[in-house]
């Protein structure tokens, strides 16, 4: 059964948020945006052993405090609501519908089954305790009267949650109590005859190892003197075991070894952190394939919450991991800070958590937002190669290579580090649809954006398209600007940089350009600029030279129009 969405109210940093989930959902967002809060909320609700009102899984610090005056005792109740649903009629196995029938709600238009489970955390002044109340809701959000507490536990059985946190420890996962590993150890069983035979052999081996060292005999005697102080059995008070001699001891110590490239067999915990992480994921895969049905129910669909799986992995390993995530059994909810990982998952599976005016919001690209070619464009220009763009707070969209290089340097120069601002400059002259797919996904994901274009007809066309992607109350100038003099180079030319640009063009070239222009001033100007760019070693070189010149003149020399744009994007990025 699929978890369709989670709604969180007044929980930690989140005052109100609804997150729609897919088979694979990747939560991205800045630190402290609330990604882990979402996973934690899920874990609180889908952990076994509830039903009792006295359970205090919510503590003081879980309450969302809306202002400095608020305290956990007066805060609004915490609400975490999970919505499970069928994708189509008869999607769930009958056994699920049968066992959960008391709480199943039906969409009367298409017959699909739905379940809403809610945990409410409140402070009870009578008992002075934080209490949790569990309820199932109907399609109108009203509480259903429950006949049987068992329903909670059944639900958790059908949708078991496995949580792998960022700090996961492979040696624990592969230890005797590992959540997946232990189910495999339990299943090792041998016929009694064979068991006895093996254990006898083990004792034999043990004896020959221990006996080989004569000093050990003395050690045994010495330790045995403990008997004088505490009551212990005799003889054979002390037993040394080089290896476990009973099967259950032995299976508990099953270890995973990986053979390194040079051929040495190394236990897993001796490998790098990244390798260990991957091994845990693979173990989970094996568990769902082999043991899930037995440990839970044949109808169970595992829900895997995976926090920052990219930790300690090489970028190409991260990208492979991204691909792997698409194929893991069950429903997956992943948090990530990795552009490499994001590059390998469908863009529609992303959920970008961000804050706007202090409120937590969620951005998502719905499947019908982009047509196939737009999707291709976004995939090519952003997701596949520059996945980190999706983590930015603001995009400055520019029309040409010069703009891209110059703006980048100017931002740095004006002490607006792109990294601190979480700002990205995207060049979009190669993008089909005049940048429209960018406006769309930026809006959908809650990324701020600003467009800077040339003053020619193409530029004006860009600007026109902006109009249909504005937020309510905005005007085109809030989101886009045309250069006053037609292009960024001309912006400098007409603002005191004419001599500098001319200095890059040789007298001979200048003469040729003048002759060719034959009195057409625009043509002559364009020719000179083009020649200057060429002589600096194309646009990046020109940008570099221009930037050196600006530095020598001081920031007063930067044209006002450019300063305005920078002020605006800094403002947008600042939220």
């Amino acid at each position: 059964m699929k978890l369709k969405d989670i709604t969180i109210n007044n929980y930690r940093g989140i005052s109100s948020l609804r997150i729609p989930l897919d088979e694979l959902t990747v939560l991205i967002g800045e630190n402290n945006a609330g990604k882990s809060t979402v996973l934690e909320a899920l874990r609180l609700v889908l952990t076994r052993g509830f039903g009792s009102r006295k359970d205090s899984r919510f503590a003081e610090y879980d309450f969302h405090l809306k202002d400095t005056a608020a305290t956990p005792l007066t805060a609004d109740p915490i609400g975490i609501l999970l919505h499970f649903s069928e994708d189509h009629e008869d999607d769930w196995p009958e056994a699920i519908s049968q066992q959960l029938s008391e709480v199943i709600q039906i969409d009367m238009t298409n017959g699909t089954n739905h379940i809403w489970l809610k945990a409410t955390g409140t402070y009870q002044s009578v008992t002075t305790l934080f209490e949790t109340r569990w309820s199932f809701l109907n399609t109108d959000g009203a509480e259903l009267a429950l006949k049987n507490a068992n329903t909670h536990n059944l639900l958790v059985k059908f949708a078991p949650l496995f949580f792998l946190s960022a700090m996961r420890d492979a040696s624990q996962e592969f230890g005797q109590r590992g959540q997946f590993w232990n189910s495999f150890l339990k299943t090792i069983e041998l016929p009694p005859e064979q068991l006895r035979e093996i254990e006898e052999k083990l004792q034999e081996v043990n004896a020959s190892v221990i006996d080989a060292n004569s000093d050990l005999g003395e050690v045994i005697n010495r330790i045995g003197e403990v008997r004088k102080f505490v009551p212990l059995a005799a003889p054979d008070t002390v037993i040394l075991e080089a290896i476990p001699t009973r099967l259950f001891d032995l299976t508990g110590k099953v270890q995973v070894h990986l053979k390194a490239q040079h051929g040495a067999k190394l236990p897993l915990h001796r490998h790098g952190e990244g390798t260990q992480n991957l091994a845990v994921l693979m173990l989970f895969q094996a568990f769902t394939a082999l043991n899930l049905a037995e440990a839970y129910a044949p109808e169970s669909t595992p829900l895997l919450a995976l926090e920052e799986p990219e930790a300690h992995l090489h970028p190409s390993a991260i990208r492979s991991l991204g691909t792997l995530l698409k194929n893991i059994t069950g429903q997956r909810l992943v948090t990530s800070h990795s552009g490499d990982l994001v590059s390998r998952v469908p863009i529609t599976s992303l959920r970008r958590i961000y804050k706007q005016n202090g409120e937590t919001k969620i951005g998502q690209i719905s499947t019908n937002l982009l047509d196939a070619r737009e999707l291709q464009a976004v995939d090519y220009h952003v997701k596949s190669n520059k996945g980190h763009y999706l983590f930015s707070r603001c995009w400055l969209l520019v029309e040409g290579e010069s703009d891209f290089h110059i703006m980048q340097r100017l931002l740095e120069y004006l002490e607006n580090s792109q990294d601190e601002l979480s700002l990205s400059i995207l060049e979009m002259s190669q993008v089909r649809g005049k940048g429209e797919p960018f406006f769309k996904i930026a809006n959908a994901l809650g990324i701020q954006w600003f467009l800077m274009v040339d003053g020619d007809s193409a530029g004006k066309d860009y600007a026109r398209r902006v109009a249909s992607h504005l937020q309510p109350g905005e005007t085109t100038t809030d989101r886009a600007r045309c250069w006053v003099y037609g292009s960024i180079e001309k912006e400098f030319w007409f603002n005191g940089f004419q001599p500098f640009i001319e200095s890059k063009v040789s007298a001979a070239s200048k003469k040729d350009i003048g002759e060719q222009a034959n009195g057409d001033q625009t043509k002559e100007l364009n020719g000179i600029i083009k020649s200057a760019i060429t002589s600096c070693g194309q646009k990046p070189g020109f940008a570099e030279a221009l930037f050196e010149e600006i530095k020598s003149r001081g920031n007063m020399s930067i044209p006002q129009s450019i300063k305005d744009v920078i002020t605006r994007v800094v403002q947008l990025a600042g939220g």
């Binding site: 009102r53 008869d90 009958e94 049968q98 009367m108 089954n113 109108d140 259903l144 006949k147």
Partner: protein, 642 residues
């Protein structure tokens, strides 16, 4: 493995039936409960490990409870997979889960008594009459209209179709009546309450409007079984039909057309034809009777054969019980009903003491029963009358019940009125309803809290114990609807009040018995929810659906109407008042020998005599309630020459 050896061939065939929908015509004492429970147990046992459920519908909580007990004994591990309940309780469950599609919230309340229904109807009439231009006829009074509303609900007349229906049936005042009906149903909806007939009517509406619901039900309940099918009225039948339609193959219905006692309530032999017609049920008969002596069976067969509207090919009952001794059947004649009652009481008391509780007095009407009851009480012998009791009668219980209802449903003015009355009777402090209501609206509080404030204001009039109860003990109820400790405190407080008043005080009538009933129902309801803290809401719901009749004390002698005796058996049956105008009733006599009313009376007599396990005594008098009466024609039909 289930032991099938105790079943006879017919019973076993029914239990193991696997060829599509089946109607089992089960005569009285034919072991139909055993057949039903064995079949349920067998299906459960054979499908162990699967998760589908079985829905088994009965007409009384008692029958459901008994069958549940038997199934639990047979297959304890699978008991969670059977829903053995009444039509009403199942309807309430469906409405709790899905009633929001008809704008009923899951916490709706059940109006279990007519006083509340009449009060609501009065509000409705008042509301309509506010419109001066179009008032209702002056003689429209709530108490008189309620039975009409009930009939319309039971006939599943929709609000859209009610006007046409009333006009076609030539009812006087069809138009205003239709307005009242529509407004009453709307009033139930907006108050989020349901009475018994609308539980059924709205459930039917739900199933009709949303076919996905029936589909879902059939996904969960793979088998549907119905007990006492002959008692289904039209709406109940339609609910059943909606649920069965997606897959009729596993329908299993047990009925006896010779035991229809509720034709006046819509139960009808035509329903058998509908069943046959729509679902093409096969029929299996269980004519063997394991209960009655052979001579009683002879009488029963002789009697019932006179009825015209019986299932085609219905076999006569076959006595299985061997050997009988003494006076198995007696017919005794008296001059007057008083002598008759006196004799019955004495005859029972002359029996060995251990035999007495196995006797029962049956009669067509409550009035006849009372005459015997009077004799028993004169002789100091406890008698037990199993009349349904929808509400508690003693003041402390009424107070408890109304406080709980108010805590659960904060605007319930009826409960407030009841609380004020009970509190006045117990404490002598009169608080006006208006005061509480205006305080509640002024302070934005609920009625219960407003009432508690008003009580507080009385300061010194309130004694210490009462203050503790209403200021301290009630807190968990107010804060988090925890009601069990408060109920205990209130009952203890009630006992102290009683000690103060003395035992003669009217307001404590039945207080002891009702405390027992309370504890019994509480245990029952908690048991039904397997260990979970039952919520206040759920508890009140179940309480509303349960009769508050106290259980029969061990040594008491049951005195039942024939209707109340349905489904029971007794060692020695005394059927009294066997005269024309009683059994058969005056109305049936008037309609004539071939009328359906007369046939229903005959079935009454048939049911009454087939309750007997060891002996049957029928009595009649020349004078009943000071009227001269002839012996019942049924005595003649059974072959007695008088």
């Amino acid at each position: 493995m289930l032991d099938m050896s105790k079943l006879n061939a017919n019973q076993r065939e029914a239990v193991e039936w696997g060829n599509g929908p089946l109607l089992v015509l089960a005569g009285p004492g034919s072991g139909k409960t055993r057949v039903l429970t064995s079949r349920i147990a067998k299906i459960l046992e054979e499908s162990s490990g699967q998760h589908f459920r079985i829905l088994a519908l009965t007409f009384t909580n008692k029958a459901a409870g008994e069958m549940r007990g038997r199934v639990e004994e047979l297959v304890p591990a699978e008991r969670g997979r059977v829903r053995l309940t009444t039509f009403h309780s199942y309807a309430a469950e469906l409405l709790q889960q899905h009633g929001n599609h008809l704008k009923f919230r899951p916490d709706f309340q059940i109006l279990s008594n007519d006083t509340d229904r009449i009060a609501l109807l009065e509000d409705v009439l008042g509301g309509i009459n506010k419109d001066w231009s179009n008032p209702l006829p002056e003689h429209f009074k709530a108490a008189q209209l309620l039975p009409v509303i009930t009939r319309l609900l039971e006939a599943c007349i929709s609000t859209e179709g009610v006007e046409d229906f009333l006009q076609q049936t030539n009812v006087e005042n069809a138009v205003p009546l239709a307005r009242v009906y529509v407004a009453y149903r709307e009033a139930l909806r907006s108050a989020n309450v349901l009475d018994f007939p609308s539980l059924i009517a709205e459930t039917l509406e739900l199933l009709k409007k949303f076919p996905f619901l029936a589909k879902h039900i059939r996904k969960v309940y793979k088998h549907i079984l119905v007990d006492e099918f002959q008692d289904t009225n039209k709406s109940q039948y339609q609910i059943l039909a909606h649920i069965v339609r997606p897959d009729p193959s596993s329908l299993f219905v047990v009925a006896d057309d010779d035991q229809i006692l509720y034709e006046w309530n819509g139960a009808n032999h035509l329903r058998f034809q509908e069943l046959k017609h729509e679902f093409d049920v096969s029929i299996l008969q269980l004519p063997e009777n394991f209960r009655c002596p052979a001579s009683v069976i002879e009488l029963a067969n002789a009697l019932i054969v006179k009825n015209q509207n019986r299932a085609v090919g219905k076999k006569p009952l076959k006595a299985v019980k061997q050997g009988q001794s003494g006076d198995v059947v007696r017919v005794v004649h008296f001059d007057d009903l008083d002598d008759e009652a006196e004799w019955i009481a004495r005859d029972i008391l002359e029996r060995p003491i251990e035999e007495q509780p196995h006797c029962a007095v049956l009669a067509r009407t409550n009035k006849l029963i009372e005459s015997v009851g009077k004799k028993f009480s004169e002789m100091g012998v406890p008698a037990y009358f199993a009349t349904r009791k929808n509400e508690f009668l003693s003041a402390p219980m009424r107070m408890l019940h109304s406080i709980l209802r108010l805590a659960n449903s904060k605007e319930d003015k009826q409960s407030l009125a009841r609380l004020l009355k009970a509190f006045y009777e117990l404490e002598g402090i009169r608080i006006e309803q208006g005061q509480v209501i205006s305080r509640a609206s002024a302070d934005g509080q609920d009625l219960l809290r407003a009432w508690l404030e008003e009580v507080k204001l009385r300061g010194d009039d309130i004694d210490e114990r009462t203050r503790r109860l209403l200021q301290r003990d009630i807190k968990p109820l107010l804060e988090s609807l925890k009601f069990r400790d408060f109920a205990d405190s209130l009952l203890a407080w009630g006992k102290e009040c009683q000690a103060k008043f003395g035992p003669e005080e009217q307001v404590f009538n039945e207080f002891e018995e009702e405390q027992c009933v309370w504890k019994m129902l509480l245990a029952d309801i908690v048991g039904k929810f397997s260990g979970e803290d039952v919520s206040l809401y759920q508890f009140l719901h179940e309480l509303d659906l349960s009769s508050k009749t106290p259980p029969k004390p061990e040594n008491a002698i049951p005195c039942f109407t024939i209707h109340a005796s349905k489904g029971m058996e007794f060692g020695h049956v005394y059927l009294m008042g066997m005269v024309e105008d009683q059994l058969p009733s005056w109305a049936a006599v008037k309609k004539g020998d071939d009328s359906s009313e007369m046939q229903e009376e005959r079935r009454n007599c048939f049911v009454a005599i087939t309750r007997a396990q060891d002996s049957l005594t029928m009595t009649y008098s020349d004078r009943v309630f000071n009227w001269n009466k002839h012996p019942s024609r049924f005595l003649g039909e059974m072959g007695f020459e008088l």
